[in-house]
Symmetry: C3
Subunit: 109 residues, 3 copies
């Protein structure tokens, strides 16, 4: 068994939760408030057999990895008409930080 | 020293907290919101001497293990009188998932 | 890489967050509600290179260690004038519990 701790952006956490449920992977979500450096993140604790670690990595990568996304430009409240002809802006979203930890023992009661 | 991470149901967390206090075991409770597979759980982080790991396991097992419990049947709001003669139903409650982790160092400042 | 889990008092958590940002140390803050034995605490998860572990320890110690502090005495609401000439009281604040954990693997996606 390994304990995996994965920190991902809030916006990706529902998709990751659903992926874990579909694959029968036991995970618990902790609320990380006031996270900094990456505000608005979720921390998952996942217990898996050694041979499933790579599968969990793939799921996290697929649902949560850093990627570019086009967003509507922010509206200037002082002169909202200015944004009317503005182009969408490309921003970076997502990103996952993952630790795989050895464990001495695992119990279920 | 070991670091124990225990995920238990919310309904058992006060009893476990009290048991830890009585036994002078230092524990911190993290809020696990949106936990899935087991909704409504609490995650405890406990630091203990190697020789007390078994005691902590016993406390967790005693307060939080999976067990059967009789509950009043849910009331049917459309015809509430129907439940009047209904039998209590037996449901499964509790359950604990516990990881024991090795540590490289432990400090208190 | 090491994974550091640090439990500190809420009142010190902003200063520690700022210190981590200044030093380019990646940390995530979990909300620990209902923490007992030390109510009102914050739990930080920090991933660092082995050679920076000592620096992180220093930061935690500097911002969060147990210390004495003078506080205005609590006001007696029944006879508030009594406190007028009272001396400030010295109380103990702060304190950090820190675990350094080995990791098998670290990934960023
Ligand atoms: Ni294993
Ligand atoms: Ni030890
Ligand atoms: Ni290392």
């Amino acid at each position: 068994m390994k304990l995996i701790i994965a920190i991902i952006q809030d916006k990706d956490s529902n998709r990751l939760s659903n992926a874990f449920i579909e694959q029968d992977i036991r995970a618990t979500k902790l609320s990380s408030t006031g996270g900094f450096l990456r505000s608005g993140n979720s921390t998952f604790i996942i217990g898996v057999e050694d041979e499933k670690v790579a599968d969990v990595m793939d799921l996290i990568k697929e649902t949560s990895k850093t990627r570019k996304q086009f967003m509507a430009p922010p509206v200037n409240l002082d002169s909202p008409m200015e944004a009317a002809g503005a182009y969408p802006v490309e921003v970076q979203v997502g990103g996952a930080t993952v630790f795989v930890l050895p464990i001495d023992a695992f119990h279920q009661f």
